[in-house]
């Protein structure tokens, strides 16, 4: 890539910091050039977040239909899978699978709920009521 071809499409990162790219100058020598973003990868990131938004809304629906506990919603909201949530809470994956059932979730102790709330960085009431405060 030539230095004057380094893309300058403004990305959400570009508003905070430009990124270093390696490119060649007119003599073919490598130099660094700052880029504020590239349309191709801005769209790639958008696709990732659109997919996440779909997963979150599907999870919300499952919780409202009593097919899953609010844990599922917050897992998707925090981009976590079973392994990540298990690592953050100290529960086994099979335990979390149980807790994903609404009937089992209803009976969880405050102590266990607190572990989940900490992992999601939210309050226990919000976990139970599936309430999101933007952070």
């Amino acid at each position: 890539m030539k230095k004057d071809e380094v893309p300058q499409d403004l990305s959400s990162l570009g508003k905070i910091t430009k990124e270093v790219c390696y490119a060649t100058d007119s003599t073919g020598k490598y130099v660094t050039e700052l880029s504020s973003g590239w349309d191709v990868k801005i769209k790639a990131l958008d696709v990732a977040w659109e997919d996440i938004a779909k997963r979150i809304s599907a999870a919300k629906e499952q919780v409202l239909n009593k097919q899953a506990s609010p844990l599922l919603f917050f897992m998707e909201y925090r981009l976590m899978d079973l392994s990540i949530l298990a690592d953050y809470t100290g529960f086994w994956k099979w335990q979390i699978k149980q807790h994903l059932k609404p009937a089992v979730f209803e009976k969880l102790s405050d102590q266990k709920l607190q572990k989940y709330a900490d992992a999601f960085n939210i309050k226990v009431e919000d976990l139970k009521s599936m309430t999101v405060h933007e952070d």
Partner: protein, 337 residues
């Protein structure tokens, strides 16, 4: 408490941290591309059966930690590295290092990294930054991908040092011994070693998921994605590949441009070995990766999406595989002058 340290922005976090930590010892000779090349940073792998963020697990660089380790080892610099089970011990060790005047590298997760924009915060735990002092409750942070140095309070730093999930950092801290001078002779030898290791990684690792064989195999898989996954999911897979290839921290073109810059610098250290010519081959590879990314974007933007478009996409990777194979064969066959 502030240690004498100058923040410099880099393309890639680990090679940036490595080069910045070695700046004094190497008298600024170990640039980011040299650290990347000596650390044999270039790679390709498409790990089967594993999903990351519900997409394919594709990497364009070597395993986290390898660049720093290999570079220091090749240059004969002793390294201190520690992981911790206790958060308190991790912080007191950090304090101790800073008190002794050591800037230190830390592996962190980016999900809770406050100065990153929200759109970039995934559970990615192999990011690297340097802590170079403390001012009141704020740690002074040099994050190589940021234009300027920044700060984190104790809690924020602890949270990212103890992020959980795959490749959890566990407070991982590392730094090269100070005061060890690096000679030009060592740098020349280290460049040769780095190239040799990278040739091995790209040409000789057995199996079809890594190195140039991996690029070829992924190219062939992409042609089947449309039928196997459906247009929309195939588009999401391609978007994920493009992010791994082009996003922040790659220097563009799936790290191929950093590697080309490395070979160009290596040519001035070891002239007469055609390294500058081989560098041009990697520039071409980087350009072709970017052309492929434009094709992929056409698909995930919904502008194109026929089977023929996927064939074109897959064929780009086959072409890249061939090009990189020839480039690494040229490196393999060097009779060092």
């Amino acid at each position: 408490m502030k240690i004498e340290f100058e923040h410099r922005q880099a393309a890639h976090c680990e090679s940036g941290v490595t080069s910045n930590l070695l700046r004094i010892s190497s008298n600024s000779k170990i640039t980011e591309p040299l650290a990347f090349g000596i650390g044999a940073g270039l790679f390709f792998a498409h790990i089967p059966f594993i999903k990351i963020n519900n997409g394919p697990a594709i990497a364009f660089r070597t395993l986290p930690g390898h660049i720093f380790n290999r570079t220091c080892k090749s240059l004969g610099i002793p390294v201190t590295r520690k992981k911790f089970s206790s958060k308190e011990k991790a912080e007191s060790f950090l304090q101790e290092c800073l008190n002794n005047g050591h800037p230190v590298g830390c592996q962190v997760g980016v999900y809770y990294l406050p100065y990153f924009p929200k759109e970039y915060r995934f559970h990615f735990n192999a990011h690297n930054l340097i802590v170079f002092g403390k001012d009141q409750d704020k740690y002074l942070i040099s994050d190589p991908i940021m234009e300027n140095a920044t700060v984190l309070d104790s809690y924020q730093l602890e949270r990212v040092r103890f992020a959980k999930g795959a490749l959890a950092p566990k407070g991982h801290i590392y730094f090269p011994e100070m005061g060890t001078a690096i000679t030009d002779k060592q740098i020349k030898q280290a460049i040769k070693n780095g190239i040799k290791k990278n040739v091995y990684a790209m040409l000789r690792i057995p199996g079809s998921f890594a190195g140039v064989a991996g690029i070829k195999s992924t190219g062939n898989k992409i042609k089947k994605w449309r039928d196997k996954l459906g247009l929309q999911k195939a588009g999401s897979y391609l978007a994920q590949m493009v992010r791994m290839q082009e996003e922040i921290g790659t220097g563009g073109g799936g790290f191929r441009y950093i590697y080309a810059a490395f070979l160009q610098e290596a040519d001035s250290w070891l002239p007469g070995n055609q390294l500058a010519d081989i560098s041009v081959m990697f520039t071409k590879a980087g350009d072709l990766w970017r052309t492929a990314a434009v094709q992929a974007a056409g698909i995930y933007k919904g502008r194109i999406g026929s089977q023929e478009d996927f064939n074109v996409m897959g064929n780009y990777l086959l072409e890249i595989a061939e090009l990189e194979k020839n480039a690494f064969l040229a490196l393999k066959n060097i009779k060092w002058q």
